[in-house]
Symmetry: C2
């Protein structure tokens, strides 16, 4: 089929999957890393940094924004994109919890 049965899973499972999915493409990981590197929100040079056409980059930015990983604000005729720390913290805390729980297990 191809359609994911999201309604069979918990809200948290869907939330983690949605965020992880957004990071499930190297171009989007590269966008995040570029936003980190420039250390400022005057973005718009992202297109020049990536080996992808402008509409493709725009689409990836949209997906990162929908997942809550970045936020964008209009600055004149350009748009300023920034990393949304909160969502990364959701991920970090989730994985921390997994690691802690696994460590307590006494098998394997």
């Amino acid at each position: 089929m191809g359609a994911t049965k999201t309604d069979h899973f918990t809200d948290q499972q869907n939330q983690i999957a949605t965020i992880a999915k957004a990071l499930g493409h190297p171009a989007r990981v590269a966008i995040i890393e570029h936003l980190l590197k420039v250390n400022t929100c005057i973005c718009g040079d992202i297109v020049n940094e990536l080996p992808l056409a402008q509409p493709t980059v725009s689409q990836h930015l949209k997906e990162l924004k929908n997942a809550g990983l970045i936020k964008g604000s209009i600055e004149g005729n350009a748009i300023c994109y920034c990393i949304d720390e909160k969502t990364f913290e959701v991920l970090k805390n989730y994985f921390s919890k997994i690691i802690t729980t696994v460590s307590k297990q006494n098998c394997c």
Copy 2:
């Protein structure tokens, strides 16, 4: 096109994207959470826990295994699946680094 241009990105970017992609489906997140909950590696009841057919679950398990998120060992005619802590630590450390770097930025 649909084909991802992995060769244009760094090894780390591809690695993070591959792992994140594997977690980018609620069924696979649910599998991870079930492995945590049972606190043992006598798996095989995963199929009964999920609203998906056996071949579908098997496919999801394969993807989690390929991404290094779980490991499986043969136990008689059953297979014992476990969480592979190391890969989750890769993710946690990666996100921790992002959060630390963002915190140092003075914009937005």
